[in-house]
Symmetry: C2
Subunit: 309 residues, 2 copies
């Protein structure tokens, strides 16, 4: 069922491309989980500690606009990768490498402001920028790209993969979904690091990921990795003010946590959550079911090669 090699990425789609590329990659004695999860998970030299690696990028005209304040671009570039660390169960990022591709005609001030945003995120989450690379687009192209690679650690006991969801688990999300672009949440969000740590510690999370491409697509990925199906109640979706159900399902860039729980949180746990994270909703949106009785289609969401900018 392999497509013709001349097929374009737009036709194949991002998930199918990644599946093809992964077929012959990503094996090694120290690799516990390669691509297909929020971070790569690796054995470390310390017992009980896993290493985490993640790379992510933002592209002008796709993830931010030429008019976006550059310090917010820097924050977003780093926070996207931190969000993936959070989604593993609250992994601690330790070192960052920055790749900056920018035209020689950009101002020094613009780059310094991007770095101010990167540093702000590094200081907030306790990691250090240890190196980078600067390059430029070819003449005549004013594209800017910032790519952030993070390395860090997580306790083996806290580490949660996408593959742990089981039938009868509840499907939950933090916060509200949809309209991240018009509200500019995508530029200023604070990765759910503390929330992820609390959830793993207190509620026995079975699987977790961050919501970057819309819950429709991301839940499908989680279900696929877990070998299960799901049913969600669209009316239960916590929506950003003004967002439609379709927007909550498919807009993307929510940077909330999507997780599955074996047990319903009791009143004490709910009270503790409300006290620790005031105003932040924790909502059950559906259930994990056996593959044979549930959904696992792609009901929309962001695809790097198929979604229009």
């Amino acid at each position: 069922m392999a497509p013709e090699p001349s097929v374009t990425l737009r036709v194949l789609g991002e998930d199918a491309l990644i599946q093809r590329l992964c077929a012959s990659l990503f094996t090694g004695a120290d690799v516990l989980s390669g691509p297909g999860d929020d971070c790569a998970v690796l054995r470390s030299d310390q017992p009980g500690i896993f290493r985490l690696l993640k790379t992510d990028c933002v592209v002008e005209g796709v993830h931010f606009l030429a008019s976006t304040e550059p310090h917010r671009i820097g924050w977003k570039a780093a926070a996207r990768a931190v969000s993936d660390f959070a989604a593993m169960g609250g992994g601690q990022p330790r070192e960052a490498l920055i790749t900056l591709i920018v035209s020689p005609e950009r101002s020094v001030a613009w780059v310094e402001e991007v770095y101010r945003g990167l540093r702000r995120c590094a200081d907030h989450f306790g990691f250090v920028i240890v190196g980078g690379e600067t390059s430029r687009p070819p003449a005549g192209c004013d594209l800017a790209v910032i790519s952030v690679s993070l390395s860090g650690t997580i306790a083996e006991s806290a580490c949660r993969l996408r593959s742990g969801a089981r039938p009868a688990n509840g499907v939950w999300v933090t916060g509200r979904l949809g309209r991240s672009f018009p509200t500019e949440k995508h530029l200023d969000f604070v990765p759910r690091m503390e929330e992820a740590r609390w959830l793993v510690d207190r509620l026995g999370v079975t699987a977790m990921m961050d919501l970057s491409d819309g819950v429709a697509r991301d839940l499908s990925r989680l279900a696929e990795r877990s070998g299960v199906g799901y049913r969600i109640d669209e009316t239960a979706l916590p929506r950003t003010a003004g967002a439609t159900v379709a927007e909550a399902l498919a807009d993307g860039e929510d940077y909330e946590l999507l997780l599955t729980l074996e047990l319903e949180p009791d009143a004490a746990a709910r009270g503790e959550w409300a006290q620790r994270f005031p105003g932040l909703e924790l909502t059950r949106i559906g259930d994990i079911v056996p593959l044979s009785t549930g959904d696992r289609e792609r009901a929309g969401g962001w695809d790097a090669f198929q979604t229009a900018s």
Copy 2:
């Protein structure tokens, strides 16, 4: 002496930009060397072992052409970062993350061929591709970028920085310099990993780096990090067939090793080198001298923001 913030990157230049950005970055208890060396060097949990981190990228129209065979692009993208691992004294890359930015109209076959080249380099040097990120340029822009982040290790005893050069050390290079683009060496070079390990083991290297931006610029960087000057004999420069002295000094992308040695290698060491690396020259091109009596200017070479493509 800070330039006006409205100054462009073209006016400031790459090295000055990096100096400005680094002024407020890159501190941390585990960071032994941040940017300004070929790799970031970090403490590990294993005694006697340092961790190394490096990110590097190739951009279409700058580092390769639209017509370049994609498997060679993949090889080059990974080999550039491996060359930096070699330059630390033969560091072992272990895991790679790949960021691929490519238009939806590119063929699946093109991407698969890029990955075949990446994998070929990974297999050759013993590392594993553990994850990545795919994104796209904005509509109307057909730019392709491949960024490779490597993590790995090196024995503390083998690790060489740019900062170790001392007056009276000889300045040496491997191979021949210049005309890497017209000869296409830049697409197929094999990073000098074994050579770097042998040099550190046998010849007591005091400082080392790889030659990516031309020996004129790169030796100036090494001298600056070491707080020394240098004198080179331009007639001694080992030149690629057909290359002028100016090309050997400044073309860039040689991916040879630039190193400083305390002692002249004896006849036995020279014989061993010739046997281990047949046909590969090891040439003394000059001397490290006190800063007050030597050169340390930039005599040309590649600058990401100042050199024309």
